[in-house]
Amino acid sequence: MSKVRRYEVTAAGDFASVLSVLTDHLGLRLLSLDEGERSWLDTSTGTLERAETTLEFRLPSGDGTPSLTWAAEGRVLVYDPCVSSTPPVKASDLPASAAFARLVTLVDGGELVAGPTVNSQIAVLACLDEEEKTTARVIFDRSETIDGVTLPMMLEVLPLRGYEDEASSLEKKLKRSVALSASAAPMKELALQGRSSGRVSGGGKDVAALVPTMSAARAWRVVFQTLTDSMTQSFSGVLSGNDPEDLHAFRVAVRRIRTILQDGDDVVDPESRDRFRHEYRWLGDVTTPTRDADVHLIEFPELAATLPPSRREELASFNEVLLRHRSDCQAAMTIELRSMRRAEFGTAWLSFLADDDAWTGCADLADEPVLRIVLRRVEKANRQLVKNGRKISKKSPAIALHELRKEGKRLRYLLECFAPLFDEKALATILRPLRDVQDVLGEFQDTEVQANALLELAGELEGADDHSALMAIGGVIEQLGVRGADARASFSKTFGRFDDRKVQRAFDQLEPRKKKR
């Protein structure tokens, strides 16, 4: 079957100028030119995406007729003008036809939900032969999300069956006439990622824009926008799974957003805060197994190196288990990240950030100066950390240290996310020992989690009667135990450096001193 070839238009110029190159210079015939809103529908479990099809609802601007198109790899399976100007929700809302009957079977009683929504200008063009027969279709698409994120201009070449050579020749001509770069992602995916070619309208995403006197709600929004940018940048890398750093960066941004939401009590609209905290928790959870698998793979060689050389070789088969496990985790995570839940929540989050009205008078302290609010929350978080840190003894259960780690993270994220508001020197005095405490607690927890996971994964070797490898893994787990014990032993001293008078006094100096005139 003929496959769609996708390109990102990197040429300078607007939609109209590129379109005129396509029609006037390349002689493509313009079949239609539409403008309006379009959404991609799917079930909440992504049934249509798994079947490699898309269901697109279009609502043209002006007097145009809404339409529904079900397609697979650029091939329209069915197109139907709709009576309703709202997308279908139930299978019974779909038009009655043979093809939609197939769609109903595929959806199998599941409800359809609207995923990413964009405003688009779409031109459909045809490449014709001397008989004026279409040999390839070209779709030229300029879209922006409903929150104003301008997506890259896309150009798709759809070869028609039996005319593959003609399509290849057209592609060559296109590349000579318009600056293009190959792209694997269809517009739906770009919209899902919210990947922009510019900036969100209403801008102000830079955390450096924070000033102590700005309203708390506005400052919270700036922080969220910065973190969302970072999350968006790493999203495609997370999906590809090529570089563990992308997933790490993505998870850090997610965790920070969650923490700042948690500390957004009386600053952020309460209903939105509850909803997004819940969703970000879910997003963090779905990425955890893959990150854990990454850590196993990254650290395993170092751990294995602590074993005698003869034992190391025995671990080769276990490395295969780790790779397989990582691949399974990535596959499961990708399904979740491409799900309608993620799409809906991503779109809702961007809309929330872009909606000016959602950030004015939205909560009791929303209009208070940000510094006052943040200092109060930092003070509270520090008080709690110090109180619970002092309680940790050699006999404390592991869970007490895990809880303390979360409290430490909360304080650290507050300080780091609102850093431009604080006195630099005081902030540095606090952050250094705080990070050390976090490192110790992190090492303790990670070694424990890793030891448990390796033990569980080792079970996969047992079936193969690989006893020598099992013995070697036992050696690795022992090493992890030693590292964990070392971390725990060093806690008291490390925490003492944070719970030091000088550091604690620095909390009172976080408010920048007013410059003398």
Binding site: A126, E131, K133, L160
Partner: protein, 248 residues
């Protein structure tokens, strides 16, 4: 996959127009449709603006050395593909005669694409020959456009008799006749239609009018529904398709 052959022993009765327009209607309803132009004149191929040439030759398809799928060309319409005509099809009878089990050759070729299409329309040349018999074996139904004239009545009855006398060859083939190129202004057409319906109550209710809109297919080189959506003949083909659904 249902295989429908537009067939009449007599030429110029609207076989190709029926195949092209019904295929277009069926595809517009979301069915995956293939038209196989078996007529060396290549009128269906012309209407879809496709070049009348099968890469590798029509003979190779019949012999089985070329997959039918490799000869398929997409038309300009979604879900509607075509196996173009080839002038060499004028020798189709000879090739079939040379082949082993000639009657199953077309059916075998179609089996290769049975998962890809819901409906296949075979546009057949006018005659009773080995090609027609091979088509009869491959098809689930023969769509027989019939002009309401004495001569057409004779050919319709000839076909009916042939099918009745050769039950082994045609197996479960349905004969679905309908009136084509009907001019309701002509008293003779009206009378023949009444007489024929009395004699053959199995004839379909839907009729295709004699219309310049259909003749203009040659100018537009596309199905009537593409340039004359909502026109009388376009509505007639919609009605014919709708009635066929109840009879297949």
């Amino acid at each position: 996959m249902k295989v429908l052959a537009t067939y009449n022993i007599k030429g110029g009765v609207g076989k190709t127009a029926t195949a092209v327009n019904l295929a277009h209607v069926a595809a517009a309803h979301g069915n995956r449709v293939l038209v196989w132009d078996l007529d060396p004149q290549g009128a269906a191929t012309f209407y879809f603006r496709v070049k009348p040439k099968v890469k590798g030759g029509g003979k190779a398809i019949v012999r089985g050395s070329l997959e039918l799928g490799d000869a398929i060309k997409a038309t300009d319409f979604d879900n509607l593909d075509l196996v173009p005509a080839d002038f060499s099809y004028r020798h189709l009878d000879l090739w079939l005669d040379d082949a082993k089990k000639p009657l199953v050759r077309i059916r075998r070729a179609l089996r290769q694409v049975s998962e890809e299409y819901d409906y296949v329309f075979l546009d057949c040349p006018p005659s009773i020959s080995l090609t027609s018999e091979s088509v009869f074996r491959a098809a689930d139904a023969l769509l027989v456009p019939t002009i309401p004239t004495t001569l057409s009545l004779r050919t319709y009855e000839q076909l009916d008799r042939f099918v009745e006398e050769n039950p082994d060859m045609v197996r479960e083939l349905k004969i679905l006749g309908f009136f084509s190129m009907v001019d309701r202004h002509k008293r003779l057409h009206r009378r023949f239609m009444n007489d024929l319906r009395t004699a053959h109550p199995e004839l379909l209710e839907a009729t295709i009018p004699n219309s310049t809109d259909i003749e203009r297919m040659g100018v537009h080189r596309e199905p009537v529904g593409a340039y004359g959506k909502g026109s009388k003949p376009a509505r007639a083909y919609e009605a014919l398709w709708s009635e066929l659904q109840t009879r297949l």
